[in-house]
Subunit: 282 residues, 2 copies
Amino acid sequence: MKIHAKNLFGKIYQIDFLNYFYPTMDTHKELEDFIVNGSKTYIPHISLDCAIFGYHDHQLKILISMLKGLDGFCLPGGYIKRTETLDEAAGRIVKERSAITGLYLQQYKTFGDPDRVKWSDLDTEKLMKLPGFKKLKNSWLMDQTISIGYYAITDFSLVKPQPDFMSVSCAWFDIEKMPDLLFDHNQMVSEALQTLRLQLYYYPIAGKLLPKKFTLTEIHAVYETLLNKRLDIRNFPKKLIFLGLINKLNEKRNIGPHRAPFLYTFNNRKYKKALELGIDLS
Amino acid sequence: MKIHAKNLFGKIYQIDFLNYFYPTMDTHKELEDFIVNGSKTYIPHISLDCAIFGYHDHQLKILISMLKGLDGFCLPGGYIKRTETLDEAAGRIVKERSAITGLYLQQYKTFGDPDRVKWSDLDTEKLMKLPGFKKLKNSWLMDQTISIGYYAITDFSLVKPQPDFMSVSCAWFDIEKMPDLLFDHNQMVSEALQTLRLQLYYYPIAGKLLPKKFTLTEIHAVYETLLNKRLDIRNFPKKLIFLGLINKLNEKRNIGPHRAPFLYTFNNRKYKKALELGIDLS
DNA sequence: ACAAAAGTGTTCGATCTACACCCATGT
DNA sequence: ACATGGGTGTAGATCGAACACTTTTGT
């Protein structure tokens, strides 16, 4: 079975999605059970969508899903279990949709405009013809939802996204070549990126993108790419060390026909600067 | 009919709540209809709670509700209509619970830990004996909820909170004398205040607390009180003018046996500094 | 020796902090 | 004239931005 979709540039995707199955829901029966009984396990009306940015070697990408029945792309998202915290739900959802684990996920905003989901984007009739989906209509999944936005960043070369039972695909896209997303997910990405950039000097976000011991050149590239602007190579280390984000080691790394660079580590006095800003409550 | 509650300091409150009625639900029938059919109008499982701070003359207060059936205090909150945006819902909820209008409400965080509502705080049995409440058990209101936190600030001397049909009372409390709140509302207040303080120099939040034309002394008192720290009287105006938050007028106000102070206005180039911080997206 | 990348210091202007006295007005 | 609160300026420290050359190493 094939499904078709166009991205912004008109390219047609044909992906055989029956090769993929959700790890714990690997039969249509289980999928149907999720549709019929899911609201016993999950809280209805609230979803959680994750803008996962991926960095590697001067490139910034974003993790985009294509869901079954939707001719278009969206952020990986899901529902919150009745027993878990929001942060736990975010971690689990990303793990399920993409098989990526260990992210430092941050809540940034909740989206709830009544027109955030254009139902025209959701071809219910088409979806209901797919195996396992026939009880979708009038199910708990079809009601209005409010969505909590989370973001994270990781090294995209280290993780290979694996789509789950709901997804046709789940893959990295260059941030400038990101296709138009369904629903209000374009806005979600834009606000997530804005938050990421504001928090970059105050939270140890970039730590996830680098080896334990890294060089100044490496972290410099990370910051330039994420902020999408040039940062003075001489001022940059001063600032990071002043903020207490990184520590210089007494080790060097031998690479290439040039001087061996010193190594640095991220400082896990994470919230240092952020806590300074947050003035003490009486 | 009387209800009792203790605050942190052990004082007992006795309030005759049958004097109060919700303006658009002024009969028990309507209340019962809300309990039985509310989920047609409102989205279940999601509430919205508002930390409304009140300032006047060096005092910082917070608006606290006491709800029927709950022996304790909480933030004014409510449910989101299916047709409104989150910001609209926040405005309507504050208006209904307290009759306060025209606030500049800001979303700051969503709270969803599974244990955020301690059901022991909610005396369902007691509540169901109240008029209008008898169908509460197993209603849509009794399921787990996630809550979106909003905050705002206003001049508490200008608005007299009016409790609605759900509330025994709704009143201003000195921030240092705020009683312990039910559920996770203590944490909500603490995080709201933190956010308010972080945003105070970047958003025209304080504009709501002052007359259109105000003196430096007045705005200085606002900032000192909200931040709970002393601010140098000579540096303070420089900073506000540098940030573009206020404009000096060519008018003075005649008060008291001393030099007449100049008047200032808030500058509605609101987000100026905030937008500077948010780096341009590609 | 040369190519390639690493590393480093100073100056200037802007901003923040601390600090104390004179001014205008009403009674 | 005096009591009350309003208003102002400067010096020093700190921070951020701009800017170019020397060092190390492998081939």
